[in-house]
């Protein structure tokens, strides 16, 4: 069920350390891009088996004359193998940015390529499509936008039947989509949403993963909330997406990852989340979360955090909708197992990807904020101590943990009783030693609730040198008032 076609990484031609260094660089570049809201990534589909057969990487840059020759041969060659071979050579050449530039500047080149793409020669078609795909992957806008004349055909082919070809068209479209608003302004009237809605019914996993990728790129666009998401929500796409996310023997990780991200982009745009809830998004995603928790216990290193992240986000955001409460029965999220699953995932994230812990804790906050039931679960399942364990990870995580604890404590004496005694007090004394104002502020809030609802808490606090812990924050503007109030309460009751 959780088997995923493991993508094969490029063969290593450098050491592990260098690889790590490169990854750090790429991460830094991505972070910077995200801060500037320019996060754009493309997916390149290359057949490794083919490449190996073709012996080695392309070092040659083709000039105009060579490109023209290849095109001529592909169009008018007499031998089929010859024509195919010409396109293969061209395609390899197009891996090089300079050749790409030369190609697009050559008059009639795209026209010829589109002609070959729509020819009646199946294998030429496929090679022509691969050439286009290389172009679509370019980092240079001019090269990518040169592919625009092909889009109506790429969309038409989505309702064909050849899965390899459709997959290629989808990845190419996905790369084009993410390039610029100009491209999307053409693709939308050309009917990309209905084309995708028809194509999502394909039984082929490779096609579905490619479709998910293309759709996620479309939904990530800046103008998506106004111009794209409404028509996506109006199509049959959401229902199919939810179906593809249902846990069970047919669930495929690669496909699920793509559609979970699609759902995330839709949900966080807040266009019409109520509709998704009525279509069962909460219950489907809740069940998926349970499944994920089961899977992380069984499998090692399968990339499950790639799916966990968007699922956590979707659930968290959906829980803020009024519809989440209003909708009845099965469609709501009330299952205690969700809390169990979440903690299993938190443990997994702590080991695998601690930077994603805030996302998990965000869900925990949204689950517990207005739910006595979920707060009770935290207590009855003995999850307070594991939660406290997370206090040492980072400031953001600490604030979230303290917030969740406040969610529990503010429900009254019955809850605070169960928080006491135990490691809570010593953990709080530790957090009071933090320098981060947010962390300390949240600790003060929690202390106040404990003092209010739990007899003996103030006493114990005093006995453990609590006042000294408070003292260091007496001068901090944001904390002063609360510090003094607590000092008063502790001393005078």
């Amino acid at each position: 069920m959780w088997s995923r076609q493991r993508g094969r990484l490029k063969p290593l031609c450098c050491g592990v350390e260098e690889l790590r260094c490169r990854r750090r660089e790429r991460e830094a570049a991505l972070r910077k891009a995200r801060r500037e809201q320019q996060l754009v990534s493309k997916r390149l589909l290359r057949d490794e088996a083919l490449e190996e057969a073709e012996e080695g990487c392309v070092a040659v840059i083709f000039g105009e004359a060579e490109i023209q020759q290849f095109l001529r041969l592909a169009q008018r060659g007499t031998e089929e193998k010859e024509r195919e071979g010409a396109l293969v050579s061209l395609r390899r050449g197009l891996q090089h940015p300079e050749t790409q530039q030369t190609f697009i500047r050559l008059e009639g080149s795209i026209r010829t390529l589109v002609g070959l793409l729509t020819s009646n020669q199946a294998l030429l078609q496929l090679e022509a499509a691969r050439c286009l795909h290389e172009l679509s992957h370019s980092e240079q806008s001019a090269v990518v936008e040169a592919c625009l004349p092909a889009t109506s055909y790429l969309l038409t082919y989505l309702s064909g039947h050849s899965s390899d070809f459709i997959e290629l068209c989808l990845y190419t479209l996905g790369n084009l989509i993410v390039e610029s608003e100009a491209v999307r302004r053409q693709l939308l009237p050309q009917g990309i949403v209905p084309a995708l809605a028809a194509c999502i019914q394909s039984p082929h996993l490779t096609v579905l993963e490619a479709l998910g990728y293309a759709l996620s790129q479309l939904l990530q666009a800046k103008e998506a909330p106004e111009k794209i998401i409404p028509s996506v929500l109006g199509s049959t796409l959401p229902q199919h997406m939810l179906q593809l996310l249902q846990p069970g023997p047919k669930l495929n990780l690669g496909v699920a990852v793509e559609f979970a991200w699609c759902l995330h982009y839709i949900i966080c745009s807040q266009v019409n989340n109520a509709l998704l809830i009525t279509q069962g998004a909460l219950s489907t995603l809740g069940l998926l979360l349970l499944d994920l928790a089961g899977a992380v216990q069984r499998t090692e290193d399968a990339g499950l955090e790639l799916l966990a992240c968007p699922v956590l986000r979707c659930l968290s955001n959906l829980l803020t909708e009024a519809a989440a409460e209003a909708v009845g029965g099965q469609l709501q999220l009330r299952d205690e197992r969700v809390v169990a699953a979440l903690f299993i995932l938190l443990q997994f994230l702590l080991q695998k990807q601690p930077s994603l812990l805030p996302e998990g804790l965000w869900l925990l906050n949204n689950l517990t904020a207005n739910s006595p039931s979920f707060c009770t679960s935290l207590l009855s399942l003995d999850l307070i101590e594991p939660l406290l364990h997370l206090l040492s990870v980072s400031n953001v995580v600490s604030v979230l943990v303290l917030t969740v604890l406040c969610n529990v404590a503010e429900k009254g004496p019955a809850y605070c009783q169960r928080l006491w005694p135990g490691p809570l007090l010593s953990s709080l004394l530790d957090t009071l030693a933090f320098s981060d104002t947010e962390v300390v502020g949240q600790s003060l809030e929690l202390l106040q609730l404990l003092f209010l609802y739990q007899p003996g808490a103030a006493q114990a606090f005093l006995q453990q040198s609590g006042l000294q812990a408070l003292q260091r924050h007496e001068e901090v503007a944001q904390l002063q008032d609360r510090v003094h109030a607590l000092q008063q309460t502790a001393l005078h009751g």
Binding site: L50, A122, L123, G160, A195, A198, E336, Q353, E410
Partner: protein, 315 residues
């Protein structure tokens, strides 16, 4: 982070919420300077909170090099020939055959042998080119349907439709799957030939035949009586692949089965003069074509339409 052992059991246990402890709030809890109130938090698209996860997502997109075709290797098989009548293309990989089959044989109009990339376009073509009822209706109402999936507009003429495609849907003016019919009335065998003769691309790009047109040499669309036409004009006939493809677990679901391809052939064509029609094979001889027949056509008078059932053989 140690999790209580009972937790895993709970996960595997019964669904259902916990019975909540009684809630009892003291109004003093939220008095100044304390301000905590529990609330679900919502993050919009561009919020910095999402930075980490987004970066991880994009690293994944950049990293993954997936393979075209899905299977780790393309299995090479002994060379085999496409079994569709009249096509003698040779393959040594099943994936190549899959694409060839779908491109050239799947959505084929059995009147004029043109192949289309999708069933939708084929249906539209049959309606507009081969249905005399369509022509009659089209004189009185808007019958030309927009080609874009999801668009329900209809037009009086194919030219109007083309204009709509260009203006509204930003389609290229020379979109290859929207060729207007040249002759009046339903396309008959002679007319089909005529259109093919005009084949070379209008943009000066010579291509083998018109885009997506495939003509098997031997079969000429017969002047079929109206009643029977429907039975032959359906793409379903060609929708099933050969048994070889049925062995590919990745591609074909179980419901595919060996098809029976019915082809109507005028008896005299077997000896008729060859037409100059290019095919995907780049030309093949009459002899080669004849050897693709599994059964000889039924005997009858020279004017009798011969009917042959050709079972696509397993490999």
């Amino acid at each position: 982070m140690q999790l209580p052992p009972a937790l895993h059991a709970r996960l595997a246990g019964a669904p259902g919420p916990a019975e909540p402890l009684p809630v009892e709030r003291d109004p003093a809890a939220r008095t100044a300077p304390f301000r905590f109130a529990p609330r679900p938090v919502r993050f919009p698209r561009e919020h910095d909170f999402f930075e980490e996860g987004d970066v991880q997502r994009h690293l994944y997109l950049q990293d993954v090099l997936t393979q075209v075709g899905g299977a780790p290797e393309r299995p090479r098989v002994p060379e085999f020939t496409c079994q569709v009548a009249g096509c003698c293309q040779v393959f040594d990989a099943l994936e190549d055959y899959e694409h060839h089959y779908h491109t050239l044989h799947r959505n084929v109009c059995s009147f004029c042998k043109r192949a289309f990339p999708s069933g939708h376009l084929l249906d539209t073509h049959i309606l507009e080119w081969h249905d005399s009822l369509f022509q009659i209706l089209a004189e009185r109402q808007d019958m030309y349907q927009c080609l874009v999936e999801g668009c329900t507009e209809k037009f009086r003429t194919s030219r109007d439709r083309k204009e709509h495609l260009v203006m509204r849907h930003l389609y290229p003016a020379d979109f290859r799957f929207d060729k207007p019919r040249k002759s009046r009335g339903p396309v008959m065998p002679g007319a089909a030939e005529q259109v093919l003769a005009e084949a070379p691309g209008d943009d000066g790009v010579p291509s083998e035949g018109d885009a997506m047109e495939v003509c098997s040499e031997h079969v000429e669309p017969p002047p079929a009586p109206t009643g029977e036409r429907r039975a032959y004009s359906h793409r379903e006939m060609n929708s099933c692949p050969s048994a070889a493809l049925a062995q590919l677990p990745r591609i074909w679901p179980e419901r595919y089965h060996l098809p029976s391809v019915l082809v109507k052939v005028p008896h005299e064509d077997l000896k008729g003069p060859r037409r100059e029609i290019s095919t995907s094979n780049g030309g093949s001889s009459a002899a080669l074509w004849r050897c693709c027949w599994a059964f000889p056509p039924r005997r009858g008078g020279p004017r009798t339409l011969a009917r042959a059932a050709l079972h696509v053989a397993g490999l």
